[in-house]
Symmetry: C2
Subunit: 428 residues, 2 copies
């Protein structure tokens, strides 16, 4: 196999995580070991949205300390986007976008392209890989997995998932200490809403806070298990009888038997007659207060949970970095059209390696929690889930602080000179 000499481009896509930058650091660090074939290491700003606009930066102009610091800096340091190349929705625009992308790739002699993202982003990578082959543009495209949702198929889990469940499980444990210490008092039910619209992996992960039978969380409501109001109320009453307080975790996408999200209550209207989207936790709170007559508080972690690098999982950081490195390794071996996967080779002790899976098989397959990992009554994930999730939160990180707050890096973002005409405004 002849060496492919040219430039490397890495970009990020989709919702950020605590460790997506660690994957970029992995790509950059591994690329640095192949400077015989890699001329320049570029970053694309805001994923393909920015690449279409030729917004490239020179990552070799960044300080070495900043590249190392990326491993512990949350969110997408290169910026991200949700922009898709969608032939079904608008074939003309998609074809135009694809043309433009390859103008950029050719203008900057991009021969290695790495895209870190979730399901949609892997689909984009696949389309770019296929288009390169069609055009005869010799470029190796490897997808790097990323998503707190843990819903990518063909990988044991996704980088980003371990950190979000470590933070959320810690939060549930801390809230449970708080609520239980006030158990003679008001506020003995607390409902914590976490992310996860279709899959309940994130909500399920908080079960790791439950070390003993009476520990919180007491009820975890998963989108995989249709919500049944009466059964839920009965279960809350049972928990309160047993230990005077009840901590409920709910995935934001919890659905009723009709498949409707319970957080989107169409019977409620605001002053203007609009439906009020109060969210799953608020809806459940009203239910508990009305039906159990129990003072109830809510917590909605929202973006906080996916950005909480101050309490990330060391294992997750290591794996996210390794995924970036493995992507470069695969490309250097001449491979293209694959996503890096994580393979578990042993549970106890936890052992893992990276693998590769064809990009074409990733898109539009959604990986849900197996039903046999959830207790028969549906209220909690069972020991099979715990065995799976537990190794992913291990490891104590030390995050440097600056003035009492975590010291996160900001890239200098030195722009690569543009070589093409700007996109017409209407493309925005």
């Amino acid at each position: 196999m002849a060496d492919l000499v040219g430039n490397l481009l890495v970009a990020q896509s989709g919702g950020p995580t605590a460790v997506i930058n660690a994957s970029v650091a992995g790509v950059i660090l591994a690329a640095g070991r192949h400077m015989n074939v890699v001329d320049e290491i570029y970053g694309g700003l805001n994923g393909i949205y920015g690449i279409l606009r030729e917004e490239l930066i020179d990552l070799q102009d960044e300080k070495q300390a900043a590249i190392e610091g990326l491993k512990h800096t949350p969110a997408a340091a290169l910026g991200t986007c949700r922009y898709k190349i969608d032939y079904k929705k608008n074939a003309e625009q998609a074809a135009k976008d694809m043309d433009r992308l390859f103008q950029v790739f050719e203008a900057h002699n991009i021969r290695y392209f790495f895209y870190a993202g979730g399901n949609d982003s892997q689909d984009t990578s696949n389309k770019i890989h296929e288009e390169a082959q069609r055009r005869g543009w010799d470029m190796r495209v490897i997808g790097v997995p990323k998503t707190i949702d843990n819903d990518l198929p063909f990988t044991d889990h996704t980088p980003g998932y371990g950190s979000v469940i470590k933070y959320n499980a810690t939060t549930v444990m801390e809230i449970a200490l708080d609520v239980s210490s006030m158990a003679t008092d008001a506020g003995s039910c607390c409902i914590i809403e976490v992310m996860g619209r279709a899959a309940g992996w994130i909500a399920a992960g908080t079960v790791l806070a439950k070390r003993e039978q009476l520990d919180a969380p007491h009820i975890i409501l998963l989108p995989e298990v249709p919500f049944e109001k009466d059964a839920f109320i009965a279960q809350v009453k049972k928990e309160i009888e047993e230990h005077q307080f009840c901590v409920v975790v709910v995935g934001e996408g919890l659905k009723d038997q009709n498949g409707d999200e319970i957080g989107a209550d169409k019977t409620k209207k605001d002053a203007f007659g609009h439906a009020v989207l109060s969210g799953a936790a608020e809806t459940l709170k009203e239910l508990v207060e009305n039906e159990v007559n129990l003072k109830t508080r809510t917590v909605k972690l929202g973006y906080a949970q996916r950005a909480a690098a101050h309490h990330a999982s060391e294992q997750d950081v290591i794996e996210a970095t390794a995924c970036g490195e493995a992507a470069v390794k695969a490309a250097m071996e001449g491979k293209s059209g694959f996503m890096v996967t994580l393979k578990r080779t042993s549970n106890s002790p936890y052992e893992w390696s990276t693998g590769l899976h064809p990009l074409g098989e990733i898109a539009n397959v959604e990986h849900l929690i197996p039903r046999e990992w959830i207790s028969e009554d549906g209220w909690l994930p069972n020991e099979k889930f715990v065995e799976y999730a537990h190794p992913l939160i291990e490891g104590e990180l030390h995050i440097n602080e600056d003035g009492g707050l975590p010291s996160y890096v900001h890239l200098e973002k030195v722009r690569v000179e543009k070589k093409l005409e700007a996109l017409p405004e209407q493309n925005d």
Copy 2:
């Protein structure tokens, strides 16, 4: 002064914090240096609510490691309550409660009483101190300050405050990285609701995340500054124009010009016709989405923020412990009827000591943010506030982990044998 020999009782009251257990550890550790006069070190479960029920535990039966571990364990390890001795509301019950408390004190020869709590708890301590004098029961009563709200008077700040603002400022910083990295995309406004009903100290503390002019938070809505809808909308538009995203922090008790909390919108009704209490963040989100047409996300940290010992301030832990120790020292010096205070003797470098203030002057005085610490336009605390708050979040703690989650202690709670008849049930 003759030595007062007898037993010591420590209890906790009000909403828990990340460091209220550190104050209890301080009391226990300091008491251990006075075992010539202190016979037994007791803990009262659930504050005076439990003491009325003679629910005492023997703290000398706890492992030494557990006492040390209390410094880093959130919530109230002894349990807490909001129960008050309220002569105004029910003089008969209050007199009965006071009688019962002194039966317990006498039955267990309590000669030293330490109560860690906020405004109401200091009031309780004062009533107990005065009653002891009236009855001629030689007992020394010292209040230990505690509240995330930072609204106690006569102390520079309160233990618990530094930790809540360190966690909240970190969260704001992390969310800002997340939101700004998606700025070309949906979700470019994020509204973060934090605790603080009357005073805005907690919301104000998130300004520490703002290191540079463009950094978040961009707007902090304080209960001290009446909310004005049009001005707020205009300010959000201005921030979006300047940097494409906007992070707003709002104290849960934000009020409009009529003094009504904006989170309690009486115009909204649920399916049963009840007013919907959607909270300040949700109310603002609807406003921004309707008036600025900007995709907006909310985060409601709730109990998570006051229990987040995994990211507590080391300075706060040190001061909370010192407050417990100072309480014992004052009692050993023959003092009673005081609350321990924190005194700042220098800002840069930050230097501090503990002091004492008469309990009788603490109750019902609420300490708000001085207007001259808030920018003229009211959107952010100014450099005077930053100078005040900054030293309180300093210090990197190392929290031991167990299986990937913080290792918090649980007390054995070995009960002290009861000597009185049980309270009649109707007292509950």
